[in-house]
Symmetry: C2
Subunit: 369 residues, 2 copies
């Protein structure tokens, strides 16, 4: 076994999920995640935790869903009881075919998901963590060789998380006290101002201690209250199976008033027309994971990439809002990414340049310090 699999398991169990002796832990082992499953089992044994292994198989689910009738009973008691009593749920994703569910009727999938809302809520109320074991299928989706993809995943996962968390607290402190955040790239493309008064930034440190549930992670995000100006997203995204490229949005009074896309315009139009909230920003996120050095079309990695900023159309996260305030509401939450790691690019907070050309002001090599 690649040593990095064991290191991954240790980060997952200790840093991310904070497993203690006697914890009741459900491990959801993906079809292609057997090796990580073995390493996690060993780590849980070493920590004297209790383990139940579930099998997270798209092939089983596809066969089951295609054969099942249209109606699903709500929250079957046996599965609900399991998750209600679990302390942690560790999802080891690792598919062998990212298209395995392609021929499940969409309505079936949605009906199944709707019927299981209580189970989902029970799972999300545990110390859950979702992570990824690199598979050939995922390497293929990223357009990378298997060896290079494994390097990519482990570079993203095996970080100095404590050091990164400290750096993130620095940015969070800056954002929490701020009013105005401004993104600027060369004059023709991007000059966008977002107002974040009274909003709270969240540190995605890949640890349940910070209410951050994905490994890898590495971003600081908040929810803009208002937005004005223009922004170009130059990192391609795959949204609803379609490639989105060269998206330009123009905001006035918080709302998208003009837009264009070099590719994927129809998908973008559908998103913007979903509801009123889909034309407003729900999230401003700053990628801080230096282990992620290229976009792969997998948003959970791409949006964490150091030297990028992502903005999401649609729903805002409650954790960013003042008590009692409701943020932007929408049925969608679609992240779009812009590359900050280019000459002439700045992220300013209340007039101070916090990041220039992809380098934070507290980093060595900050230009024009």
């Amino acid at each position: 076994m690649d040593d990095r699999v064991r290191e991954h398991a240790a980060v997952l169990v200790d840093w991310s999920a904070r497993i203690d002796a006697g914890d009741d832990v459900v491990v959801r082992v993906g079809e292609g995640a057997h090796d990580l499953g073995v390493a996690v089992a060993e780590a849980l044994g070493e920590r004297d935790a209790n383990m139940l292994a579930c099998y997270d198989s798209p092939e089983l689910e596809r066969a089951y869903l295609r054969a099942h009738g249209e109606e699903f009973p709500s929250d079957p008691a046996f599965e609900l009881a399991l998750y209600e009593r679990a302390d942690s749920v560790l999802s080891l994703r690792g598919t062998r075919n990212t298209s395995e569910r392609a021929d499940v009727p969409e309505g079936r999938e949605q009906a199944y998901s709707r019927a299981r809302q209580g189970i989902r809520e029970a799972r999300l109320s545990t110390d859950w963590v979702s992570t990824v074991h690199p598979t050939r299928a995922m390497a293929q989706q990223a357009g990378m060789s298997y060896a290079a993809y494994r390097d990519f995943v482990y570079d993203a996962v095996l970080r100095d998380w404590e050091g990164l968390a400290a750096e993130m607290r620095r940015l969070k402190t800056t954002l929490d006290g701020a009013s105005e955040v401004r993104l600027r790239k060369d004059e023709d493309s991007t000059d966008l101002t977002m107002w974040v008064d009274d909003r709270t930034a969240v540190n995605s440190t890949a640890s349940v201690a910070d209410d951050s549930h994905n490994l890898p992670s590495g971003e600081v995000f908040t929810a803009p209250a208002d937005t004005a100006g223009q922004v170009v997203f130059d990192v391609p995204m795959t949204v609803r199976g379609q490639r989105l490229e060269g998206v330009r949005l123009v905001f006035k009074d918080g709302v998208v008033v003009d837009w264009e896309a070099e590719a994927g315009g129809e998908v973008l139009r559908a998103i913007l027309e979903t509801d009123g909230g889909a034309k407003r920003l729900g999230e401003l996120g700053v990628g801080m994971n230096r282990g992620i050095d290229r976009p792969t079309g997998q948003v959970l990695f791409d949006e964490k990439m150091a030297g990028t900023v992502h903005l999401a159309l649609g729903r805002a996260y409650d954790a960013c809002l003042p008590n009692g305030e409701t943020g932007n509401d929408s049925a969608v939450h679609v992240d779009l990414i812009t590359d900050m790691d280019r000459e002439g690019t700045t992220l300013e907070v209340d007039g101070t340049v916090v990041q220039r050309d992809g380098t934070f002001r507290w980093e060595e090599g900050f230009p024009g310090a």
Copy 2:
């Protein structure tokens, strides 16, 4: 997928487990049983049952148990709750290495098992069924090619179970009213009489409807109250990892008074010396599965082989005993098999030959009818 995998799933779900719409079904998918898992998922979907897939992995368990401390908490609540609420548990065994647990300290394994007695009881109080998906490792253990082993397993599993169950009821009726069961082979080897007054025969039809929980199955068994004479077991067995061959037992007043073995004598001695009940018979079973045509060293198959009788030293099953009566008690239950499919061999019940040379009296070709 081999069509027989789908047929296997249908037999398991319909004949064996009697799954109905809305049943809460735990499917325990063995490491090497993925394909059967997919077929079972499809069958459960078709019947509108609810499914939770668990991962039954010797590699995960080995890693967990080796790393864990000596003490295990009793019946972790999350897993207990799952099995307490499940209607059925389908175990799809299919190991990729029958020796995977060889380096788990024995004490660890026992402590783990002891701590989980409540979970085990909860599982056994569902409509559980255990079956086998053929793997290369199991073919190897049976000394067979993978292709031949698959044929062997499916011949044993894909039976006319209703027809066989009717035939078994016939033998059960005969045994239930009987006093004396006598096994005879050529004079030098076997002439054994067992008394079964007031005992009840059980039909192992591979269906929860008959309280029979293994697929394949196919035997009728009862519990002798007394035994006298001599018997030779000419089908080799693997017991505690050792090969037992050519075992001869002599009974007087129900107790083994003399014994020998061509191979495995030390194991047999250890078994006989376990406790008082280990020298008495706990079971007389008649194999009736004509799909099983050779011994493979896997007792769950071997003892069901048509044309064989097996006798177990040790513990009797309660289902065979009159209400309130305790049968033979022992810490062991070791099955030994004798081949009835040879010339000059008879199974007599109260003086009537029920089987001669491996053929029942109701079968075509019964010799000397």
